[in-house]
Amino acid sequence: MNAHHRPSSEPILSATGIVNRFGKQVVHDNISLDVQAGEVLGIAGGSGTGKSVLLRTLTGLHRPNSGKVVLNGKPVESIGPAEKASMIGVLFQQGALFSSLSVAQNVMLPMREHTQLPVAEQEKIAAVKLELTGLSADSALKFPSQLSGGMIKRAALARALALDPRILFLDEPTSDLDPLTASGIDALIRQLNQGLGVTVVIVTHDLTTLFNVCDRVAMLVDKKIIVDTVDKLMHSKHPWIHDLLHSPRAEGAMHARKSSHGIG
């Protein structure tokens, strides 16, 4: 399905024995997860199953109660800020664009802080990143408050891509978007994955994204994690996974996938 999918090689991101507890409530009970370079991995699960906590753990924003996360061969907490910025890019759920900066300034901020490129070059690169994510040159001057939901996601994606990270983490990239815009974002994720060869980890409960974009899906159920391709998960015995992938919405997403890829 994907030219960059190389499951035999060393995983680019590997989490082992992750335990996350909040008070007495255990969210993750000894979870392990490997992300292969070049793949698109979806993380799915019901509300409150700790999808976002897992994402924060993988990116080193949240320190787990036990377990370790290794990013490109190094423990995530030991990676310096500049190196981390060039390793990972995160698209936050609400975009998290800096409201006092224009879209172009938002995209240029990581370059300004972490590279010695002249401003003219930074602008050129920012323009290309914005075009890659489907934003017009005029929107570069706009401020986040002047953007629509879909444009915010695209601008935030352009900022996440600013330093060409090896891994892109996307937190609910299609939530709050109309279906057409959401399909546009789905297509964009695939295009970036294939064109730039960037590894993508998507937290989502958008079934269309799971079916159409992800090479593998990690299902968070019962505080554990089950990772496989969607096709194999379709035959899973687990009641929640079965219900999710055979719900009316899943039928629709499945149908969309058949018609767009000719596979089934």
């Binding site: 030219a3 050129k124 690169i125 323009a127 890659l132 570069a140 001057l141």
Partner: protein, 352 residues
């Protein structure tokens, strides 16, 4: 000519410098890139620009080819630049906007005062519309919780005035009049002014932020859809609560200020507390106390009007809450001081 190693955001400038001379030398050129071990978008962008200048790229690896094709397929339009405005024009535009905003602001305050007064009249005529539970919660939050800080500030202000008074009056042998100075200035001016400024910062900011967050989360709209009046439900309890609270806080500040005066008299002038009380009774009249206290409800009215108005002005985002809160506090303190100056003139004319 050939490139090798990693061509990425860190090395691209180096490559550009290294190739600069070579690019100027000859016309027909080929660049061998088969030894490149890594390529990212800035690197690919650089290679695409070379290709645009008729440099032939040879030995492109398939995985780099995908990226090059992607970058080559883009329009690569430069970023739009903001329209440049000359500095003096910008100054004129800013002044114009500022004056225009000020005009609108004044109009808004007057309109809002009108709405507040009309709602207040309605609520007073229909006392069942008063919300005693809300009002008492506001009194607790704006009044009781503010007691420690207001008391401490009043004592400190009395100490400051006392020290200055002793220092200035001693050369004339009149340092005993420091007691008069402290007592009169605390009761007439400082007690109420310090309390009002403190409350404007503390409770005014709280009013704007509370109402502003409700506005940003569409809670105000929800109230209106349910047929509930935000003026009656949110603004009135805060206004009535503060109008009750501020005079009481001022009285407390007066007492604490006089207490601070006693402390300073004891330590600098060696006047015993009972003696101090006698001196204070001689120095001040009842009207000094009332001149101070009468201002408190009026300050309270304007502080809550300005704070609630800015809260209801919040539009959408969280940053707007912060901006309106700042404006509300600045405007409330400004109004308090302006009003205090007007009162001074008024009382002077009335001979109070």
């Amino acid at each position: 000519m050939a490139l090798e190693g990693v061509l990425d955001i860190r090395s691209v400038e180096q490559a550009r410098d290294a190739l600069g001379l070579w690019l100027k030398q000859r016309k027909a050129r080929a660049l061998d890139v088969h030894k490149l071990s890594g390529l990212d978008t800035p690197g690919a962008l650089f290679l695409c620009e070379l290709r645009d200048k008729n440099v032939e790229l040879t030995g492109v690896k398939p995985e780099h080819g995908v990226l090059l094709d992607l970058m080559g397929g883009l329009e690569r339009k430069p970023l739009s630049k903001p329209k440049a405005i000359s500095r003096w024009r910008d100054v004129v535009i800013r002044i114009g906007k500022g004056v225009d905003d000020m005009g609108h602001d004044t109009l808004d305050v007057i309109t809002f005062i009108g709405r507040v007064v009309s709602t207040l009249a309605y609520v007073v005529m229909h006392p069942s519309r008063l919300r005693p539970a809300s009002i008492s919660r506001q009194i607790a939050e704006t009044g009781i919780n503010a007691l420690p800080i207001v008391g401490l500030m009043a004592i400190m202000i009395a100490v400051v005035i006392g020290y200055q008074g002793v220092a200035q009056l001693r050369p004339y042998g009149g340092e005993d009049f420091t007691i008069n100075l402290v007592a009169v200035s605390v009761l007439r001016e400082m007690g109420v002014l310090i309390t009002a400024i403190m409350v404007a910062g503390r409770s005014g900011a709280a009013f704007t932020a509370e109402i502003g967050v409700m506005k940003a989360r569409e809670e105000i709209d929800a109230l209106e859809v349910m047929g509930l009046d935000p003026m009656e439900l949110l603004v009135m309890p805060r206004l009535i609560g503060l109008v009750i609270t501020l005079p009481l806080l001022t009285l407390f500040a007066d007492v604490m200020g006089l207490f601070g005066g006693a402390m300073i008299s004891h330590s600098l002038l060696h006047v015993a507390p009972l003696q101090y009380l006698d001196r204070v009774r001689e120095a001040v009249e009842t009207r000094d106390l009332f001149v101070g206290l009468i201002k408190a409800p009026i300050f309270a009215f304007f502080i809550s009007v300005v704070a609630c108005m800015h809260g209801l002005r919040v539009r959408g985002s969280a940053e707007s809450v912060g901006r309106e809160t700042t404006r509300a506090v600045v405007k409330a303190i400004f109004l308090v001081i302006i009003l205090d100056a007007l009162f001074s003139v008024l009382f002077e004319k009335l001979g109070l």
